[in-house]
């Protein structure tokens, strides 16, 4: 790595360029056609220089995913900072995540691949741990809101159930759903015409099931959703045409 400050800045900048190029290529052509020669060509650096930054193709994927996981974290954080009851804040995080996914269609394409151990294993331990850190932080943001709800007496978890396990449920529901949406599975043929709405509905059913007040029959979460879009994510929801 370069020593001088200016060099270091340029180095970081180039790293960004590589990641963003790879992201674009992944989205345009898919994993199998994403290759180092092309990345070198598009970034206008040589292959050797690319390898100065990343030890292999898969490492770029992990870096890419880390970056977008961090971005997702910002959306979650903004959701969790909303003024309101914990369950409304949870809803805001769901809306935020949904917006994040819509605005970063490459995220789940990368996630799907990086989830594969044989691909993940090729990345350096440093980047592996960085990504794990992101996931951990993001999960913590979500479980924090749940813990607030417990502390304020809005929900009482059964004996032996932890906030992390419930958060895991929220995470897996979202993960599975967005994975399916970003893949080639024909949800329409399966009778799921509006998967994003289904995710929203199912999340509320899950939270209702845990007895997290106010239950969806006690509060109109559709209205809350409108408020979240307007107050927390005005710019993003406009960008997604959800005004």
């Amino acid at each position: 790595m370069p020593a001088s400050e200016r060099k270091k800045r340029e180095y970081v900048q180039r790293e960004d360029l590589i990641i963003h190029t790879a992201r674009k290529l992944l989205l345009d052509m898919g994993y199998l056609d994403l290759n180092m020669d092309r990345i070198a060509e598009v970034t206008e650096y040589s292959k050797g220089t690319i390898y100065q930054h990343f030890s292999c193709k898969e490492e770029i994927l992990v870096a890419m995913l880390s970056e977008s996981a961090e971005k997702a974290g910002k959306f979650l954080l903004r959701g969790s900072d909303m003024k309101g009851k914990p369950r409304e804040r949870m809803a805001a995080m769901a809306v935020g995540y949904d917006l994040f996914v819509g605005l970063n269609p490459d995220h789940f394409k990368a996630q799907l691949l990086v989830q594969n151990e044989s691909i993940m294993r090729k990345a350096s331990p440093v980047l592996q741990r960085k990504l794990e850190g992101c996931n951990q932080r993001n999960m913590h943001i979500v479980s924090g809101v749940l813990r607030d709800a417990v502390a304020e007496g809005h929900v009482k978890l059964k004996e032996g159930v932890t906030a992390e396990e419930v958060t895991f449920g929220l995470w897996t529901g979202a993960l599975g759903a967005y994975v399916l949406m970003s893949s080639e599975v024909n949800l329409n043929a399966l009778g799921v015409t509006d998967p994003r709405k289904a995710v929203w509905d199912n999340m509320h059913a899950l939270l209702d099931g845990f007895g997290w007040r106010p239950l969806s029959k006690e509060l109109d979460y559709e209205q809350t959703r409108g408020r979240i879009l307007k107050e927390v994510f005005p710019q993003e929801s406009a960008q997604m045409g959800m005004a």
Copy 2:
């Protein structure tokens, strides 16, 4: 394809051999080290013969996944055939699926990859459609039980919510969870010590949230689970050491 009956049988048998070899290699060495030369070597056929059956590496993956999706369907079916209330039958399907995943650890490794459009796209339309058919059938088995519950008045879905959307929720929860479990994500570090139990708990919370009777506070589903293991999947649960 061969004309005579015996030849045809042998052809199918060899196709199985190829799939099973690929399955084993995928599990042992991961996707990146799964290669056609190795498959040819292990099956003791030449590469050309392998390509007689499958147009590319990815096609083998899709065939592999189709096969195990069919197998999963059998577990679901057995669960849905259990004597009892629809919600117990749903629980039986969840237990069955969990057993299936435990007994077929390669399934989600393949699923993860095949979910990726760039990999899926390389397979032939025939196999693509076959897999889609499996998914459709499996989803239909699950939503069928839900429809039974609706018909018998055990649950009333809200206006605008279909059985398919709820099934989608069950599916995505399970998919996301097993994907994470079969990947390198360190769930323990995230505070999830028993993800399989979490999946079970979260499913019940979801069904409770939809108001599907009997609710988990009205019936001891732990006991139901014991009965399912004993009555529906005695052999498999013993094999998994869940007696």
